[in-house]
Each structure stands twice: as structure tokens, then as C-alpha cells.
Amino acid sequence: MTALVLRGVRPYGEDPVDLVIEGGVIAEMSRSGSASGHIVDADGLVALPGLVDLHTHLREPGREDAETIETGSRAAALGGFTCVHAMANTDPVADTAGVVEQVWRLGQRAGLVDVRPVGAVTAGLLGEQMAELGAMAHSSARVRVFSDDGKCVHDAVLMRRALEYVKAFGGVIAQHAQEPRLTENAQMNEGVLSGVLGLTGWPSVAEEAIIARDVLLAEHVGSRLHICHVSTAGSVEVIRWAKARGIDVTAEVTPHHLILTEDLVASYDPIYKVNPPLRTHDDVSALRMAVADGTIDAIATDHAPHPHEDKDCEWAAAAFGMLGLQTALSVAQHTLVESGLLDWRGLADRMSVRPARIGGVQTQGQGLEPGAPAHVCVLDASARWIVDPEAVASKSRNTPYASMELPGSVRHVIFGGIPTVIDGALA
């Protein structure tokens, strides 16, 4: 079997090399122009380790009209990902070994990325009774991340038990931090604008209070905790405090919370309706700084496909969520790399290394080193492109970036030594 050679590629944007892939691993990184084999011209392009998403809604089973594991895998590969965590809020809910194994198998069949099922914390996401976490952990899907995402595990006792229980198999609870009573019928960030627009406010404190409670619970029981889609400056402060105190907490932020603000809601266009809601400029700044200083560990897409009719309606009737897989890297480049907050190594840490570690995915996020599994994302950092909702690989079209110009285009993706994307198209 001939080696695959990414000729002239610049790992982490540094000096160009020939990156040689053989037998599913990175065989060597040699002087540019020296290696032989199946040559892929990557002159001047930036190589990153394959991206790992901790937070993806693939909608299958149940809402195959919005997305399937197949179409979501395509979108992920085209976005530079080699691993995604499929959230549990499907129908049926991924709260049993049977469902997570089905998702796992469908991911294997699509074969474009590692699809790692996330298990529900509570049966049916009802927040009443713990799901069979052990059975999911010990299934062939080997679930390590558990989340009721879309709903908050708001019962403090249940949260405590779940945090404790998953220690037995090295799992982690990923909390969707949203105090339910404070967010009844909430539609957008609570502030001046929500008052003007007459939309029920979604106070920052509804998120921050749950995070504060849960970091203290995690400390009390000595467990690991992960916070989904942090959206407020106050949440960053709480997490920073918890980390300084030695609490084993990690956190993620979505690309859209790094770039979009609540001002967009003034259009009443539900394309901007998302949970947690878009916040203020100050929140966006704080979140970017938190990614830069490592308080927030990971960028996670919260890719949430919805069929057209669920967004082509009035605000209150619309579904929460936006696409993210194919724009995440570009938004991260724009907000973090081009702003000088992170270099490419830093971005690889937040989009590959740390999310793989949080998700307990040992075969991913190993960086670009000889001997590491050959998961590689190659992008043209100098390219700029206009987001076209009709051109996305996802089955849904609900991207908030339509007509926006973004930097950086994914050219090639290698998943386990096999090209999944070549020249910006599925291989």
C-alpha cells in the first residue's frame, strides 16, 4: 500500500513539510518535496489534527427529515471534523444501550467520522430517573459522555447522583445549564433589547446559577463535570473560579456565541433563535478571552439542524438551534486566530486535543506527531468564502451565516489514514 503524502503542508501553520500517512497513522513529517507515494498537493495549506466536536445533533433516530447520521457525517467531514458526539435528544431518546449502539453502528456505516453517541442522563430526558448509564458505557458504543442536552438536569439530587455514578466507568456529565423556572417561555437574552422587543427574557443568571451549583456539587463528590455551550461572561467567571479552586470542570463554547450577538434578534428572524440565546457584545468578548486563556476548554458546534418549516414562522413558534459543522472552523479562525487570541496550535488544542480528552476518545485528538492516528484537517487559511445555505451538506439549511463572508476553507480531511474530503469535496 502506497503512502499518502500531503506535500508542502504546514502543520499548525508552521514550516512546510511532507506529511506522510501510512497504515492509518502519521508515518513521518519530512522536508517538503522529499517524500514519495500518492502525492496530494497541499502547498502552503495549514494542517491541523482532525477536529473533534463534543456537541452535535444528528437527529437520527426520529427526525430524519432534519438530519441523518449519514448527512450529518458528511457535513462534519466537510467542516474538518473526524469525530462528533451525537447528542441524546433523539426520538427515541438515546437512553438505552440499544439506541446508542444503533447510532454507533450507523456512524460506522457512514464511515466519514467517528460518531460517538452521547447517552442521556435521565430516562427520556425527563429529569426524573437516571438512565441506564452503565449499560450504555459498557455497550459496543462505549459511551463516556452523558447529557440531557436541550434540558437541564435541574434536580440537585439527581445531578449529584449522576456525577457520582459515572465515576465507575470514567464518564462525564455534560450539563445543559438552564434553570427551568427562570427561563419559562424564554425567547432571548434578557436585557434592554428583550424589553424593547417584548420577547420574554432569558436571564444570564439562569445559566450561571446552575453552573455555580454544579461546580460545587462536583467538588463535593469529587467528580468530573463538563458544561455545555457556555454563553455568558458570568459563567466564565464562575468556571474560572472553579478551576482556580481545583474543581475538575471543563467547558465548551459554540462558534455562534463567539461571533453573533442578540442584536440580530431585532429582525425577529428565527434563524437567530438558539438555546442558549445569543448574548451581548460583552459576553462575546469574555467568551473569546476565556477560550484564549483556557478557561473554556473546547469549541463545540451545537450543530442543530431544523427543517425549513420550523424556522419559516413567527419567532415564538420556531425551533431553537442553528447549523454549525461546516462553519465552525471558519468562525473560530475569524474570532480567535485572526484576532490574535490563539495561534493554530492553540486552536487545535481547543478543537481537537481537549475535546477528545473530555470525551474520553483516545484515538482522536493526538495531534500531528509521527505515530499519531492519521486524523488530519487541511485548510486554506487565506481563502475567503460566502456562506450559501443551499450549498451545505446538512439536510437542513438553518445557518445563521447566510451571505456572510468567512475566512478559511477546508480542503482535505484524512480520517484514520483515509481521505474523506479532497479539494473541498467528499472523496
Binding site: E190, G191, V192, G195, G198, L199, S267
Partner: protein, 313 residues
């Protein structure tokens, strides 16, 4: 101007034009033939997803006095109540050739979607959306204020208006604060802190929790309806406490200037935010507000539909 979605979209000149037009149109009510041929052949749809008999009738009378064909499309008992989406309803209205859609909807921003989503080509008039706005109510309130306090001319410069009640959930308050400010009035908002939106300090008005400090200076007081369900949601402890603290009774009316007027958008909770004797007193212009609503809505319909922007120039 193609649509009327928010009172905030109106400039001072826009608003004064509407009020001046309404003044002229008000005379039609006194004629033996209460009808003008202006909108003959035009179709106005009243699309009401919430019950509001008084607003619907007001728009219906306004449209009919201008000779428009009026179609009442109420959610109850129609396909809308069977789960038909706003979009599909809009496409139906477009297919039957609606020139204007007057929409009342429980969801804030629904008129904006109707106007901007590309579903329909006609004008959209916001007749109350969720807890957002009710611009024609603000216009009729401004019209009423102008008649009583400004000799029916110009804007409201220097007039002091106090708005009391559930500002948080009130589309009337939002539209009035924006419009009255645009017209030069000074607005003071009075409510318990729980019934004020979080960002109220950014609004172009004064805010106080104390009604008794806000009444003596006011040229007009506008009492907002307070719904009983707010009490159950813990916005205030009891109807009695609310009424004592924020209700307008004869004693509070005596603390006001002798020529100050009392307004209410209706429907009133007598004994809650306003006592019966105040509501029926000669200082109350509440019934007149209803009559003025027809004139103002005629003016809006005429100005949006009377001309055709395509023919401009």
C-alpha cells in the same frame, strides 16, 4: 411607508401627518353619509389570532368607512385553530388578493415576519403583537391627548403623561413610550418593579415605583390593564395590594391637576387598576378614545393604501 409595525418606526412628521389626517377623517363620523370612496376595490383582512373584539371592530369600521372590502379572519373556528401556520394563512391571504393585513397575534414580532418573510405583498398593520407593540393604540392615545391638551394641532411638546401598570407585558405602554416621546411629550412610567422590564432604564422615559409622586405633575394619566393571572405568577401579592398601591381612585384623582385627563386602553378591570367612579368621571376620556380609534385607523389605512408607491414619481 408601506407597513405600520412599530410606533418607533414613525418620525415626528409621520406621526403628525397621521394625526392631522385623522382629524380630517373624524368629521366623516358626523356626516349623514359616513362613507368615503377612497379605498373602493381594496381588500383589508383582519387577521386576529387573539380575541379582541374592540380592536377588530374599530379596524373594520375604519376600513368600511373608506369603502374597502373587509374580510374578518379570526383564529377561532378557522383553519388557524387547527394548527395551520402563520405562513400558510399568509399565503392564503395573498392568493385572495389582500391589499392590507391587519394582524393581531400573541407572538411578539409576528407582524414583522408577515411583512418581511416574503409571504405576502400587501401592507401589514400591527394590531397588537404579543407583549411587543400596538402602534394604532398609541396613535389614538396621542390623538386624544392632542385634542384635549394641544387644541388638536401639531405635536405634544411639553405635555406630561404618566403611564401606570403592567409595563412589562404591555404592548400599549411600549408603543406609547416610543410615540409620545417622538411627539415631544414627557413620559413617566409607574409600576411595581416586578412589572417593569429589566432594561427600562434605557427607555426614553422616567421611571418610578411611586404613583403618588407621579400624579400631581401629569397632564394625563394612562392606566394599563392588569391581568389577574399576573398575581398567580407572583408579580404582586394580591389584587388588593396592587389596587391600593397602584390603582387610580377618586382620592388620587383629586391630587391631579384639575384639567388632567384619565385614559385607559380598555378593557378595564374596574376596582383593580381604576375605580368605577374615576372611570365614569368627567375627567375620563376612555369612551372618546374608542371613537378616536376609528379615525386614527382610517388615517393609517388611507395613508398606507390610499396611494400606490409604485406610482411615485
Amino acid at each position: 411607508m408601506k407597513h405600520l409595525l412599530s410606533a418607533g418606526d414613525l418620525t415626528r412628521d409621520d406621526a403628525v401627518l397621521i394625526l392631522d389626517t385623522a382629524s380630517e377623517l373624524a368629521t366623516v363620523t358626523d356626516r349623514s353619509v359616513k362613507k368615503l370612496p377612497t379605498l373602493r376595490g381594496r381588500t383589508v383582512v383582519n387577521l386576529f389570532f387573539e380575541d379582541s373584539t374592540r380592536t377588530r371592530i374599530s379596524f373594520e369600521v375604519a376600513a368600511k368607512r373608506l369603502s374597502a372590502d373587509v374580510i374578518n379572519f379570526a383564529a377561532k373556528g378557522s383553519s388557524v385553530s387547527k394548527g395551520e401556520s402563520l405562513k400558510d394563512t399568509a399565503l392564503t391571504l395573498e392568493a385572495i388578493g389582500a391589499d392590507a393585513v391587519v394582524i393581531r397575534h400573541g407572538s411578539s414580532g409576528a407582524p414583522h415576519r408577515l411583512a418581511r418573510a416574503g409571504w405576502i405583498g400587501g401592507s401589514v398593520i400591527n394590531a397588537g403583537d404579543g407583549t411587543h407593540e400596538h402602534p394604532t393604540q398609541a396613535l389614538l392615545d396621542a390623538f386624544t391627548l392632542r385634542r384635549h391638551l394641544c387644541e388638536g394641532r401639531g405635536d405634544l411638546t411639553g405635555i406630561r403623561v404618566t403611564i401606570v401598570g403592567d409595563v412589562l407585558h404591555s404592548r400599549v405602554a411600549r408603543s406609547n413610550v416610543l410615540l409620545l416621546r417622538t411627539l415631544g411629550a414627557h413620559v413617566t412610567v409607574v409600576a411595581p418593579p416586578t412589572l417593569l422590564p429589566l432594561g427600562i432604564s434605557a427607555w426614553p422615559c422616567d421611571v418610578t415605583y411611586d404613583i403618588d409622586s407621579a400624579l400631581p405633575e401629569a397632564d394625563a394619566v394612562m392606566m394599563l390593564r392588569v391581568q389577574g393571572e399576573r398575581m398567580r405568577a407572583a408579580y404582586f401579592p394580591s389584587a388588593n395590594e396592587y389596587s391600593r398601591s397602584y390603582g387610580l381612585d377618586a382620592e388620587r384623582l383629586r391630587a391631579m391637576r384639575p384639567d388632567a385627563i384619565v385614559m385607559h386602553p380598555g378593557p378595564m378591570n374596574r376596582g383593580m387598576e381604576i375605580s368605577a367612579d374615576v372611570a365614569d368621571s368627567d375627567r375620563s376620556v376612555i369612551v372618546e378614545q374608542v371613537a378616536n380609534g376609528v379615525s386614527v385607523r382610517m388615517a393609517v389605512l388611507y395613508l398606507l393604501l390610499g396611494g400606490d408607491m409604485k406610482g411615485q414619481g
